[in-house]
């Protein structure tokens, strides 16, 4: 049985900070690269929500599966996908993790059981149910972690998936990233019941709300959930209360919310707060912080260089892998 208590030593604490910072810096760079037109299509930033992916990923083994949305850079990085291949994907290079075909919204990595990168809101939940069903039927002790926004909770596929997972007691950890908005639609204008964890409970799924800005709280809750799932207790649900600091995508004028609201949330930011706390507790000093930043900057520089040097998939390969090529 996995230990559900968090043994917070300095090393682990700094690991958490570093992981969140890697996401933050990666995405800040992506936003710049978008302006430079290196990255195109839709780009959805996770900035402000890093604690969730980082906290949850601590509790998964390499054999577990991860299913995410179009806002999945953070999950992919925290899952351990190489930043090089991710950045190459953002560029559309064939060295990218999806051969360049997916871009920002469709990061995939079979090796780390990272099943996307799904851009239909709610559409990935049934996939998570199926992955967990396969694991259960094959007698494996694996967990599928399924991330999605609170907006997805209104879709019929949420409903059907929660019911199936609960009915069949499948090993799914549902992680709802409640950032209060679905594009420009505030939660209270889209759900009659705004406590998403209560919606989950209505399927008899054990569910709780967690401070999504607190990486430690997330990790503790996820560890508890994953342990219960591995023990055969069926699905668990975490509603992580968070906030997206940036626009929905690069095309969003943010007419639907006040600057002041955004500012207030920024002050609760997961990187900011956790950084302060580490300083207060003496686990981190300015030199240590600078070292981490420098390492990330180096990783990012490598990733950008890798993407820049990447190549385009030949046009002749356009229809490759629509179907599996088979030897005659």
């Amino acid at each position: 049985m996995t230990d559900t208590k968090l043994h917070l030593n300095r090393e682990h604490a700094l690991h958490l900070l570093r992981e969140m910072l890697r996401i933050r810096r990666f995405e800040e760079r992506c936003a710049e690269l978008y302006t430079e037109e290196k990255i195109r299509g839709f780009l959805h930033l996770y900035i402000g929500e890093e604690a969730i992916a980082v906290g949850v990923m601590q509790c998964l083994t390499p054999e577990d599966a991860v299913v995410a949305t179009y806002r999945e850079h953070g999950h992919a990085l925290a899952r351990g996908m190489p930043m090089t291949r991710m950045m190459a994907e953002m560029y559309g290079r064939q060295e990218g993790c999806s051969r360049g075909r997916g871009g920002s919204m469709h990061l995939f990595d079979a090796a780390s059981r990272f099943y996307g990168g799904n851009a239909i809101v709610g559409g990935s939940l049934p996939l998570a149910v199926g992955l967990a069903l396969a694991d259960k039927m094959r007698g494996r002790q694996q967990v599928t972690a399924c991330f999605f926004g609170e907006g997805a909770a209104a879709e019929g596929e949420f409903h059907e998936s929660l019911n199936l997972a609960a009915l069949w007691q499948l090993p799914v950890l549902f992680v709802c990233e409640n950032n209060l908005y679905a594009m420009g639609t505030a939660l209270e204008r889209s759900e009659s019941e705004t406590h998403i964890f209560r919606k989950a409970q209505s399927y008899k799924v054990e569910a709780e709300a967690v401070n999504g800005m607190d990486v430690l709280a997330i990790e503790v809750a996820a560890r508890r959930g994953v342990a219960a799932i591995r023990a055969g207790g069926g699905p668990r649900f975490l509603e992580c209360q968070t906030y997206r600091f940036r626009a929905h995508s690069m095309f969003d004028a943010q007419l639907y919310r006040d600057k002041a609201e955004v500012e207030a949330w920024r002050e609760k930011g997961p990187v900011l707060r956790f950084g302060h706390w580490l300083e207060e507790t003496g686990m981190l000093d300015p030199a240590g912080r600078a070292r981490i930043e420098a390492e990330i900057e180096a990783e990012l520089a490598t990733a950008v260089a890798f993407a820049e040097q990447g190549t385009w998939e030949p046009v002749e390969d356009l229809t490759r892998d629509v179907y599996t090529e088979r030897l005659a």
């Binding site: 599966a65 069903l133 892998d321």
Partner: protein, 329 residues
């Protein structure tokens, strides 16, 4: 074909195919509404629940998108699910999963992930089930790159294509026309796998090519028989695979007969018949002695009363008349 044969129904052939797959491969399971205790809405799966139990003959709640998506996920997770959607009309609820997920994931992931799911569904009209239970949407499915689509019309195909579909690494949709389930014929006890690519010539003839599939095959064969009585020798092609289409077989026949008629239960506008006509236009135009014709369903939601349902669907007389028009007689 020297093995013993047995009088079998299409329904039984499908059931045998499922049973066989479940026995061969522990990764195979069947999932859908009422496939288990009820025995299947068209009684196809009767008995399988008792034989294989609730895990492998898995009754689902009414949630087509959820369980179809779960089948896709389970396929990615290493299983070989057979998802049954009661009828194609209800598959409208599952199209997000089929089109946005099953059909895209391999390509979109750069070839990393496969979705070896098989989705079976009943289709077609003829049982007076009216406007919400009588669709023929094969043309829709055949439009989607990333999935394969088959429509077994014979018992051999119904028996043999499922295993081939399960061995295929990509998603395969199988259409079973509701009017075929009660059809019986002799089936060899050792009837083996059948390819899911490639059409079959069901009757040879030199005067014109009749191209069809699924539930319309027997009407078309009947029409060919009637035409023979009038001295017109019709070749009948059963497409079997609707995606990919077997252009070679079609064009080879048209090159011999110089005339073609397509019989398709789908609504005429945007039918699969249109695609075949367009391909003949592109690949065999100079062979044609007359425009390719189509016999399709009338463009109406299928009505309940028998006389109107019959009038809405392709029928033998209509096929004969259209074939004569194509041959100029």
């Amino acid at each position: 074909m020297s093995a013993e044969t047995r009088e079998t129904s299409y329904r039984e052939a499908v059931r045998e195919a499922i049973r066989d797959a479940l026995r061969r491969d522990p990764r195979v399971f069947l999932m859908g509404e009422d496939v288990g205790r009820y025995g299947g809405c068209y009684a196809v799966t009767k008995g399988l629940y008792d034989e294989f139990g609730p895990e492998r003959i898995r009754d689902t709640p009414l949630s087509e998108s959820g369980f179809t998506g779960a089948g896709i996920g389970a396929a990615m997770g290493g299983m070989r699910p057979i998802v049954e959607i009661m009828t194609v009309n209800f598959s409208l609820l599952a199209l997000d999963q089929i089109v946005n997920n099953a059909a895209t994931i391999r390509h979109m992931s750069g070839g990393q992930l496969n979705v070896p799911v098989v989705i079976r569904m009943a289709c077609g009209a003829g049982r007076q089930l009216a406007a919400q239970h009588s669709h023929s949407l094969e043309a829709w499915y055949a439009h989607i790159p990333g999935i394969k689509v088959v429509a077994p019309a014979t018992l051999e195909d119904a028996r043999g294509m499922l295993w081939t579909a399960l061995e295929d690494p990509d998603p395969v949709v199988i259409f079973e026309h509701v009017m075929l389930y009660n059809r019986t014929a002799q089936l060899a006890s050792d009837a083996g796998p059948v390819s899911i690519e490639g059409a079959a010539v069901r009757r040879a003839g030199g005067d014109l090519t009749l191209i069809t599939y699924g539930g319309s095959l027997y009407k078309t064969l009947e029409a060919a028989e009637a035409l023979a009585g009038e001295g017109i020798a019709a070749e009948v092609i059963d497409l079997r695979s609707l995606r990919p289409l077997d252009d070679a077989t079609i064009m080879a026949s048209v090159a011999r007969t110089h005339r073609a008629l397509i019989v398709d239960e789908g609504w005429r506008s945007g039918s699969l018949a249109a695609e075949i006509s367009a391909r003949i236009m592109e690949q065999a135009f100079w062979e044609l002695d007359a425009p390719v014709g189509r016999v399709c369903s009338a463009e109406v939601p299928i009505p309940y009363p028998k006389h109107l349902e019959d009038a809405a669907l392709p029928q033998v007389e209509g096929i004969v008349a259209a074939a004569k028009a194509v041959t100029g007689r």
